[in-house]
Amino acid sequence: MSAVGIYFYNIFHSLYTVVVGMKITINHLFTRSSTVQYPTVKMNIPERARNRLYVNIDDCIGCDQCSMACPVDCITIDTIKSTPDVDLGLTSKNTKKRLYVPRFDIDIAKCCYCGLCVWPCPTDCIVMTDVYEFSEFDRKNLIYSFSNMTVEEITTAEERLKKYDEEQAAKKAAIAAAAAEKAAAPMIPLPPKPESPAS
């Protein structure tokens, strides 16, 4: 095409594409908008949604699996062993609980919502809910504490454990002392072996 031809083609082609573009936008002017007017209208959250964490502390056996699985280390768990004379109850899966959980803190500001803590839990007590509106004004309020042991209960449990440990240690010491005594005492001579009938 000659230069003049290109010149005219450019002009008319530009006008044509501009008109095509304007037709598309005017069509969209009259279609329904796609806005969901949050917060009066909320979108449906699917059931597998991974939002804020929730721990059912009555089911927690203090195994620490979720804390180890977390890639950002946002779960902090402290446990106290329980003594055999205390019955902590059963979890929902009918396993016996053996540990007190005085501290189960999740720093929900650090949580990256990956869901890796949910998979290893043996009792399914840590779950991801569909709550996504939990902003706070103060960052300290974003450290969620799930444990429900009071300070007295914690001190009681610690003392009980200490006492039990001391008792066990004392018992062990007593057994060890008795065994040591037995080893140090003079031996009673054995009766002579009977002669063999052959000789």
Partner: protein, 347 residues
């Protein structure tokens, strides 16, 4: 105009009052066009704009204006203080001065000078000075870019505007905008865009040229007011906000207001010159002094809507392509139209 004069019997006060009327109009119109642009842009993009301030966001423009009014007035330390303060005022003055010659109705025109169309083109250059000052005085390399680009753009698009006005003047025989409008009175067939009130043989020959001229005037006036696709001086994605970058609060509001006032001005000029101004398209039905204002504003508003529609559709032209369009496309075609219209009128 005369009966108000007899009411107050003091010419100075009367002329001040009458020259303030377009200012009231601009302020009311700015609120309306802000709302329109926001809603039209939103619905083109399949979303809704503000819905909470007032019913469906009707009070939002007022909220915007209040927000701009109460912002802190920041002037950069190393900026050229006098020019920085002067720039928005000059830009707005240039815009507002054009309202003096717009024929709002058969009984109201700010200043019925015989050089109306020429005055318009001349005053439009004041805006260039304002923008250039803003770009330079901000002491910011990006603003400088915006200002310089804008100067190049505006002066090169004044030429097509002026030539298009000359073509209309050739047909109507007067530079006075009120006379041009009166010339087109009497119904849609008399509009200049369809050839003017001339015998049918001449009209048929003139029509293609007047339609092309009208279209070119529209395009070049969109470029004069820095709207997409010609909005390089305030190209948001490149230059942050172009020459506007350092402005905040009321000074920014002056630039903003002058941009929207310019939108109306260029649409109004196109309407007054080509589409019959305040005359009703039905001839005598729905015509009269008060109806005149309605028709004038309504026709100009339709073109404002078209400009908004184009803004949200098209990408932006680059500087050299802008110059190409002006000098190599618009001006040659206009010269052809000029010569043809002249020939046809003489024959």
């Amino acid at each position: 105009m005369e009966f108000i004069q007899t009411l107050l019997a003091n010419e100075l006060v009367v002329s001040i009052l009458l020259s303030l009327l377009p200012l009231v109009f601009i302020i009311v119109y700015a609120l309306v066009v802000l709302y329109t642009e926001m809603k039209v842009a939103a619905h083109i993009q399949d979303r809704v704009a503000y819905m909470r301030t007032g019913w469906h966001g009707l009070l939002q423009p007022i909220a915007d204006m209040l927000k701009l009014l109460q912002k802190e007035d920041i002037i950069p330390d190393k900026a050229d203080k006098l020019l920085f303060r002067l720039a928005p005022i000059i830009a707005f003055v240039g815009t507002y001065a054009a309202y003096a010659v717009l024929p709002f109705s058969s009984i109201y025109i700010g200043s019925n000078i015989n050089l109306g169309a020429f005055f318009l083109v001349a005053v439009g250059s004041l805006v260039v000075v304002g923008i250039l000052m803003a770009g330079w005085a901000s002491n910011n390399k990006w603003s400088l870019f915006g200002g310089v680009r804008s100067a190049a753009q505006m002066i090169s698009y004044e030429i097509p505007t002026a030539i298009a006005i000359i073509i209309v003047v050739m047909i109507t025989g007067s530079l006075n905008l009120q006379d041009v409008t009166k010339f087109q009175d009497g119904g849609i067939g008399n509009w200049v865009v369809f050839g003017g009130p001339l015998p049918w043989s001449q009209k048929l020959m003139l029509m293609p040229f007047t339609i092309i001229t009208f279209f070119i005037l529209f395009v070049s006036s969109v470029a004069e007011v820095n709207r997409t696709p010609f909005d390089l001086p305030e190209a948001e994605s490149e230059l942050v906000q172009g020459f506007n970058t350092e402005y905040s609060g009321m000074r920014f509001a002056m630039f903003y207001l002058s941009e929207y006032a310019n939108l109306f001005t260029v649409s109004a000029v196109g309407v007054a010159l080509f589409l019959g101004g305040w005359s009703s398209p039905f001839g005598t039905f729905m015509s009269g002094p008060v109806w005149g204002i309605f028709w004038f504003v309504a026709k100009a508003y339709i073109f404002v809507l078209i400009q908004i529609w184009v803004r949200w559709t098209l990408p932006r032209l680059r500087v050299d392509q802008l110059m190409y369009v002006s000098w190599k496309v618009l001006i040659p075609w206009l010269f052809v139209c000029l010569l043809s219209v002249g020939l046809i009128l003489v024959l």
